[in-house]
C-alpha cells in the first residue's frame, strides 16, 4: 500500500479520504462537522481518528494533501469597467481560481459601493478595467479610491498595463498590499486569466489560509503540498478526467455538476465552439476550463428559489414522473421546500420526500447547466435566419459527473443528472446530447484533483475506480 491522505476543510464538513496510490482505490473515508468557527483541528482530529480506526493503523504520519473552502471560502470582490467586458473577464478569472464572488462593481466606484466593500471585508480585491492602451481613467479613479479607503485586503491589479505602475504606486503609497498581474482583457475579444490565477493561488496559500487559521492543521498533518481552494481542486480533477495523462486517455469534454445545499456549481472542460454549421459566435471568448456558481440554486437554503425559477407545476411534474404511485399534491412542493430550507441537514424520510428532493435536484441541475452553457438566438437577416451563439456549446460533451447529497443518498441519481441533457425539444439547445453520466458517490473528486498535483497517473486511475457510471 502506498497511502496518501486527502482532506477537505469544507464550509459544513471536514472530510478525509485515504487513497492507496498503488491500488488506485479509496481505502477509507470519513467526515465530521466543520469546526473552523472555533478550532479547525477539532474536526480534523475527529476524521483522522475515524479513518485510523477504519484501517487499523495511525494515519497521522501518512503524507497528506489538503484543500479548503471553510471560513467563507475565498471571498473575492471584483471591480472592472464595462460589465460585459472587463468586469465579466474578472468574474470568470475569479471563479476559475476557486473564488466566491462577494461583490462586483463596474465603472467608477462611488461612495456607496466603496462603503459596502469595506463592510464586506473581502479576502482579495481584483481590480480590472481598460484594454491595454485603452481606458485609463476608470482604473486610476478606482485605485485612488481604494488607496484612500480602510480596506486592507490584497489588491490584484489586472487592467490596462499602460497605467499598471501608476495604480500600484497609488495603492502601495497608501500601504495597501497590491500585486501586479497581466491584463485580464488585453484587447476586446481576448481574455487572459493565467497570471491572475497564479497570484490568487499564491495569496490563498501564503496569506489567506493563515489569516483564517486553517494553516494550524499543519500540526496534525504531514502536508506534502500547499493548501489550495477546494473549487480549484475540483476543477483540476475535471481537467484531468477530461484530458487524461501522457499514458491514459481521458473521457473527452467533461462537465462536473456539484449540487450543494446553498449553490449549484458547474465546471466544464470544453472549448464550447459551435457544434452546428453556420452559427455566429458573439460575446467574450469562453475559457476552456470554466466554472460557474449559481448562488440561487441550492437543495436546502435555496430550495424555494429553485421552485421559483423552474416553476412549481414543473417541479411537481418531475416528482410525479419519478414516483407515479406515490400520492402527492402540488402544494407538497411548497411544504417540502419550506421544511428543508430551515433544516439544512435534512435527509428525505420517505418515498414522497425522496421524489420531491430528486425533482428539486433535477431542476437545479437543468437551470445551472442552461446558465453555464449559454444560449442561441435566431437573428433574421436579409439572407434568412442566422443562429447567434453566446456562451458555450456543450452539445458534444462526452461525460457528466455528478456530486452532491441529492445524488449520493438517493437511488435516482440518473434521474437527477439527466436534467443536464438536451431533452430534444429545443433545436437550439446547447446542452449535452449524448453524454455518459457518472456519479462521485463518496465525494472524492477534490482528492483526485489534489492527487493530480503530485501524481497524475495515480489520480486518473483512482478516478476510474471511484466514479460510478450510471
Amino acid at each position: 500500500m502506498d497511502p496518501i491522505l486527502a482532506v477537505d476543510f469544507g464550509s459544513t464538513y471536514t472530510k478525509a479520504a485515504l487513497i492507496d496510490r498503488a491500488a488506485a482505490q479509496v481505502v477509507a473515508s470519513a467526515h465530521a462537522p466543520s469546526t473552523v468557527g472555533s478550532d479547525v483541528t477539532l474536526g480534523l482530529r475527529q476524521v483522522l481518528s475515524e479513518v485510523s480506526a477504519k484501517v487499523g493503523r495511525d494515519i497521522r504520519k501518512v503524507p497528506a494533501l489538503a484543500c479548503s473552502s471553510a471560513a467563507g471560502g475565498l471571498r473575492v470582490a471584483i471591480i472592472g469597467l464595462v460589465p460585459a467586458l472587463s468586469l465579466e473577464a474578472a468574474r470568470r478569472a475569479a471563479l476559475g481560481a476557486g473564488a466566491k464572488i462577494i461583490a462586483a462593481y463596474g465603472y467608477k466606484l462611488t461612495a456607496k459601493p466603496l462603503a459596502d466593500l469595506e463592510r464586506l471585508a473581502p479576502d482579495i480585491v481584483l481590480l480590472a478595467g481598460g484594454t491595454d492602451g485603452g481606458d485609463e481613467e476608470t482604473i486610476l479613479h478606482n485605485a485612488r479610491l481604494l488607496a484612500r479607503s480602510p480596506i486592507s485586503a490584497p489588491i490584484v491589479v489586472a487592467g490596462n498595463q499602460v497605467v499598471q505602475q501608476e495604480c500600484l504606486d497609488l495603492l502601495q503609497a497608501a500601504g495597501k498590499p497590491a500585486r501586479p498581474a497581466d491584463n485580464l482583457l488585453p484587447e476586446v475579444g481576448r481574455i487572459e486569466v493565467r497570471s491572475v490565477h497564479d497570484i490568487i493561488r499564491d495569496l490563498f496559500i501564503h496569506r489567506i489560509t493563515h489569516a483564517k487559521g486553517i494553516d494550524r492543521v499543519r500540526d496534525y498533518l504531514d502536508l506534502v503540498a500547499d493548501i489550495v481552494p477546494t473549487p480549484s481542486a475540483v476543477l483540476e480533477a475535471a481537467r484531468l478526467v477530461s484530458e487524461g495523462t501522457a499514458k491514459s486517455k481521458g473521457l473527452g469534454d467533461t462537465v462536473v455538476i456539484d449540487v450543494g445545499g446553498a449553490t449549484t456549481d458547474v465546471h466544464s472542460v470544453a472549448s464550447g465552439a459551435p457544434t452546428r454549421p453556420g452559427v455566429v459566435v458573439r460575446g467574450l471568448p469562453e475559457l476552456r476550463l470554466k466554472r460557474t456558481v449559481e448562488g440561487d440554486l441550492g437543495m436546502r437554503i435555496n430550495a424555494a428559489t429553485i421552485v421559483e425559477r423552474y416553476g412549481r407545476a414543473e417541479v411537481f411534474a418531475l416528482a410525479e414522473a419519478l414516483q407515479p404511485a406515490v400520492a402527492m399534491a402540488e402544494e407538497d412542493v411548497d411544504r417540502y421546500t419550506a421544511h428543508v430550507s430551515a433544516r439544512t441537514e435534512h435527509i428525505p424520510a420517505d418515498a414522497r420526500e425522496r421524489s420531491l428532493d430528486c425533482a428539486l435536484g433535477r431542476a437545479a441541475v437543468r437551470l445551472a447547466m442552461q446558465r453555464h452553457a449559454g444560449a442561441i438566438r435566431q437573428v433574421y437577416t436579409h439572407k434568412g435566419p442566422v443562429p447567434v451563439q453566446e456562451g458555450k456549446d456543450l452539445g458534444e460533451v462526452a461525460a457528466i459527473i455528478g456530486v452532491g447529497g441529492v445524488l449520493a443518498h438517493g437511488a435516482d441519481a440518473r434521474f437527477v443528472l439527466e436534467g443536464a441533457l438536451d431533452s430534444g425539444t429545443d433545436p437550439f439547445s446547447l446542452l449535452p446530447r449524448n453524454a455518459a453520466l457518472y456519479l462521485d458517490r463518496r465525494y472524492v473528486l477534490y482528492g483526485i484533483g489534489l492527487l493530480a498535483g503530485i501524481s497524475e497517473e495515480a489520480a486518473l486511475a483512482t478516478a476510474h475506480n471511484v466514479l460510478e457510471e450510471l
Binding site: G130, V379, Y380, H382
Partner: protein, 141 residues
Amino acid sequence: MDAKRRPTVVLGTIGHDAHIVGSSILRIALEEAGFNVVFLGAVVPPEEFIDAARESAADAILVSSLYGMARIDCQDFGAKCAEAGLSKVKLYLGGILVTDPEKWEETEKLFKGYGFHRVYPPQTKTDVAIADLKSDLGVPA
C-alpha cells in the same frame, strides 16, 4: 489625443446584418494605415460598439451596414454614445444604408441627425474614409 498612442477605432457590422466582407476589408486598410482596430465582426448590437469603445478608450466608432436597415439599427446612436460618456468619440457610418435610395443628401441628413459625423454612400473607397478619419482625429497623413 495622446501623441504616443496609436489612434484606436472600433469597427463592425451593425444589427441583424451578417455581411462581414466590407468591414474586413476596411479593417485591413485601417491597420495598414497605422490604426489600432477593435474588430467586432458582424451581427453586432449597437450596445456592443459602445461597450468596446469605453473599454478601449476608442477615438472613433466605424459602423458598417449593408442590408438596408441602418435606419432601424442606427437610430439615436449618437445619443446612446453621449449617454455612455462617449460624446468626444467620432462616429462614422457607411454601406448600403437604405433600400429605396432617395436623394443621397436626404440619407446623409437622416443619419447625421442620428449623431454620425460622417456618412458614406455605397462604393466609397477605403482611402477616402481613412483620410477623413486622420484629418478628424488630427493624425498626420
